[in-house]
Amino acid sequence: MALAFDEFGRPFIILREQDQKTRLRGIDAQKANIAAGKAVARILRSSLGPKGMDKMLQGPDGDVTITNDGATILEQMDVDNQIAKLMVELSRSQDYEIGDGTTGVVVMAGALLEQAERQLDRGIHPIRIAEGYEMASRVAVEHLERISQKFEFDVNNYEPLVQTCMTTLSSKIVNRCKRRLAEIAVKAVLAVADLERRDVNLDLIKVEGKVGGNLEDTELIYGILVDKDMSHPQMPKQIEDAHIAILTCPFEPPKPKTKHKVDIDTVQKFETLRKQEQQYFDEMVQKCKDVGATLVICQWGFDDEANHLLMHRNLPAVRWVGGVELELIAIATGGRIVPRFQELTPEKLGKAGMVREKSFGTTKERMLYIEHCANSKAVTIFIRGGNKMMIEETKRSIHDALCVARNLIRNKSIVYGGGAAEIACSLAVDAAADKYPGVEQYAIRAFAEALDSVPMALAENSGLQPIETLSAVKSQQLKENIPFYGIDCNDVGTNDMREQNVFETLIGKQQQILLATQVVKMILKIDDVISNSEY
């Protein structure tokens, strides 16, 4: 490192404690970064597509996760390299934004980096590559728009939605009953969707899992499922036409926040206090009863005495219900969350057609079903499965399917999957490359080649000859000028994705290309890595 000295011969310190830091500069820095990015992409590459494999991740506490979902793999991988972390972020933002295609985006970024490395070896400046990529991505996104198709569906004809969700689910372990799960996901989304505004609030869909039974027992409940049971074992297990009081105050003596002392110094005081206490419990229960509640759902605990009083007055109650669930119940039943007993009024009660307790298996596991709610806009997907890992993976898969359905409601455009869209884009970008003068042309061509890597990985994972298959499909697309040909992963016998009903959402695909390009640009622009060498 170049050093400057002042007039006394002491060096100016630019970087503190230089000898403890490692520094990579220029082309070395880029190469190292690219290598790290590629390493992450390589891990995910084999998970892509319907025949992709799963990863088993053992967490820091020895817990095991088995998954096929790119975002989850990267999140749990506990990476340490800075660039690798960027890739993790990339997949996470795809997850937040779109919810699906988290593996694809990383594979795509990896391929772009790989191509960039080749261009760097040719001596092209990283900034020029980045610019070329930018132009190419614009071309690709525009082309996607062109080849996309609108498809029509409404509440009664949701078959196309189911088909799209099935494409998403087919790469997961749950593909054994993808049809059923896809239908559940679509029905759930349609139940909460606001078709006028074209918006779906996924918070209204609760995904709950319970180990046991099998995947086929998974069901959609038009209502809320709470993993709690009645506070008193002898309360009724089933309530029809329930009027629900939703409380966030405990059935306990009051605890004022200000500091106070109640001093007992005479017998009279002792006795009045005692009476008051009893009266207090009595009043609390009576208030709930007075407004006409037939079920009390409370965020906090009950005192034994209050519990018995509730039971005695034939007022079933549920205690320790979590905040999020409480909110959902309030939304579903049209009730209001009441923080004080004094504020209870009949209007604030929620209404549900049926509340019942159901027990599972041989252990004492019970859950509370709240169904036929006044406002049916909250639904629950209840997943059953052979083991904990299966449930977790199903939850993730359902989440993906829900996101896809939501995206379709927002934007009805679709593109064809199975690598068809990528191949079409690759052709378009390649054709566009020649129009650009200058060094960028090479970068644009490299981009086209990188686009090919997704169908290539698909073919590889499906056990096909990657190069042969890809070139065959490519020439077919070009010859017939139809962008629907993709990789036949399931060995159906046709590679027309229209026939196979393999769809993906347009925004999902566009987002993949844009996000991947952005991250790669960012990585290419880094030319100096200074890091503490001792971790």
Partner: protein
């Protein structure tokens, strides 16, 4: 430029073949571990805990064995998990599910070595599992309509379940007990209502089912030891010092006399409470919490039997049996539902005194008293009985039954084999492998009994070639025999759960092509 590590320091990554090998080996090791406990002549395991006291458990129950193991291999954890779920869901077949999953993976390993892609194997396994289930469905027997026959079915199932356990000597006795107990539940699967009391001493044969209810508590001193036509108040209330629950209340006095006054008031309060309780017109009071000497004395004076510190389940069961509600306030004696029973008395089992409630109104709960030579025997007996109860209670709801003794496996294997012959493509190898894995279960049963498994299984296969054959392995006589005649039955629900979860687990492990192990959390972090 080498890639500097992407992962943290201690993290490791295993890829492709190596990852697959690691998970296969782990899973098979677990399966082999429990394999020898399978079947009526299976052996037991001794488990010694590393904790204080080095407590020892002797067991034959797959779920218990696996639960106690400390395993590091992630694939092995998957198997432990399925066995646990099997235990929660149907209660029995915990060993079979692990053994079947292990066998499926063993067969898969061979196929992978023969260069068949795991996804193809999975596709084949799925088809096979579906076909096997259909085969079972075709052959189920359902005797729900015929109560007498149904009961005998249940008896047979209970005996089949029990014959692999420590209780096999007295299996008829225990099967009878289990069936009686389950019938009392009237279709509910809440096994909490069946109380199992373990008392060392005597022999297993001395165990009995009590129609009434037994509470493992002592009667307070000076209180009646025998009450006829008892009216019981079941309560959950503080009978020590009844604190003022209003927050921030405290007693502040400035002279000794006042202390005495307050104390008097406190006593008065307690007395009030006792009087209120007595106003219910009861002659027996059961509380979940402690009863102090003072109120106890008051109860004794009133001639009421007071039982303290009955645990929560005890209270709940008592509520179920006697039909009383669990009370915590006592201001409205007229509307509180009291429990009733014909007779409460103290009985002696071995050296311990217990309280016996007989002639109860609602017979939904009952007690089983287990006797046996040692704690280990009793623990194992409890586990075995629990298995039997679980299976029975599930069967009451889903009354389909199958024959046992390797019969269902052979039926499935035959159908699956036929499917393999019909299927074109590489999948057929996987389907064939599935049928081989199924046959491994009767083979293991025979092996564990010290029989010539190759000979027996071959005989069995030949027998099963005929339609509607009922042949299975009779381990006792060591020959192939008609299972229906010998009364060896199993619950359909158990078999189905074994089949489906084992396939699911095998599929899950097969799909993995990379294992990433994160760095173990550092100790400091936890502090």
């Amino acid at each position: 430029m080498p890639i500097d590590k992407i992962f943290k320091d201690d993290a490791s990554e295993e890829k492709g073949e190596r990852a697959r090998m690691a998970s296969f080996i782990g899973a098979m090791a677990i399966a082999d571990l429990v394999k020898s406990t399978l079947g009526p002549k299976g052996m037991d395991k001794i488990l010694q805990s590393t904790g204080r006291g080095h407590s020892v458990t002797v067991t034959n129950d797959g779920a218990t064995i696996l639960k106690s193991l400390h395993i590091d291999n992630p694939a092995a954890k998957v198997l432990v998990d399925i066995s646990k779920v099997q235990d929660d869901e149907v209660g029995d077949g915990t060993t079979s599910v692990v053994v079947l999953a292990g066998e499926l993976l063993r067969e898969a390993e061979k196929l992978v070595t023969a260069k068949i892609h795991p996804m193809t194997i999975i596709a084949g396994y799925r088809m096979a599992a579906e076909c096997a289930r259909d085969a079972l469905l075709k052959r189920v027997i359902d005797n729900k309509e015929n109560a007498e026959k149904f009961r005998s079915d249940l008896m047979k199932i209970a005996m089949t379940t029990l014959c692999s356990k420590i209780l096999s000597q007295d299996k008829e006795h225990f099967a009878e007990m289990a069936v009686d107990a389950v019938f009392r539940l009237k279709g509910s699967t809440n096994l909490e209502a069946i109380q199992i009391i373990k008392k060392p001493g005597g022999s297993l044969r001395d165990s009995f089912l009590d129609e009434g209810f037994i509470l493992d508590k002592k009667i307070g001193i000076g209180q009646p030891k025998r009450i006829e036509n008892a009216k019981i108040l079941v309560a959950n209330t503080a009978m020590d010092t009844d604190k003022v629950k209003i927050y921030g209340a405290r007693v502040r006095v400035d002279s000794m006399t006042k202390v005495a006054e307050i104390e008097g008031a406190e006593k008065e309060k307690m007395k009030d409470k006792v009087n209120k309780i007595l106003a219910h017109g009861i002659n027996c009071f059961v509380n979940r919490q402690l009863i102090y000497n003072f109120p106890e004395e008051l109860f004794a004076d009133a001639g009421v039997l007071a039982i303290e510190h009955a645990d929560f389940e005890g209270i709940e069961r008592l509520g179920l049996v006697t039909g009383g509600e669990i009370a915590s306030t006592f201001d409205n004696p007229e509307s509180v539902k009291l429990g009733h029973c014909k007779l409460i008395e103290e009985i002696m089992i071995g050296e311990d005194k217990l309280i016996h409630f007989s002639g109860v109104e609602m017979g939904q709960a009952c007690s089983i008293v287990l006797r046996g030579a040692s704690h280990h025997v009793l623990d194992e007996a409890e586990r075995s009985l629990h298995d039997a109860l679980c299976v029975l209670s599930q069967t009451v709801n889903d009354s389909r039954v199958l024959l046992g003794g390797g019969w269902p496996e052979m039926v499935m294997a035959k159908e699956v084999d036929e499917l393999a012959r019909k299927t074109a493509g590489k999948k057929s190898h996987a389907i064939e492998a599935f049928s081989r894995a199924l046959v491994a279960i009767p083979t293991t049963i025979a092996d564990n009994a010290g029989l010539d498994s190759a000979e027996l299984v071959a005989q069995l296969r030949a027998e099963h070639h005929n339609e509607g054959c009922n042949a299975g392995i009779d381990v006792i006589s060591g020959a192939v025999g008609d299972m229906e005649e010998r009364g060896i039955y199993e619950a359909f629900k158990v078999k189905q759960a074994v089949l489906l979860s084992a396939t699911e687990a095998a599929e899950m492990i097969l799909r993995v092509d990379e294992i990433i192990t994160c760095a173990p959390r550092r100790r400091e972090d936890r502090m």
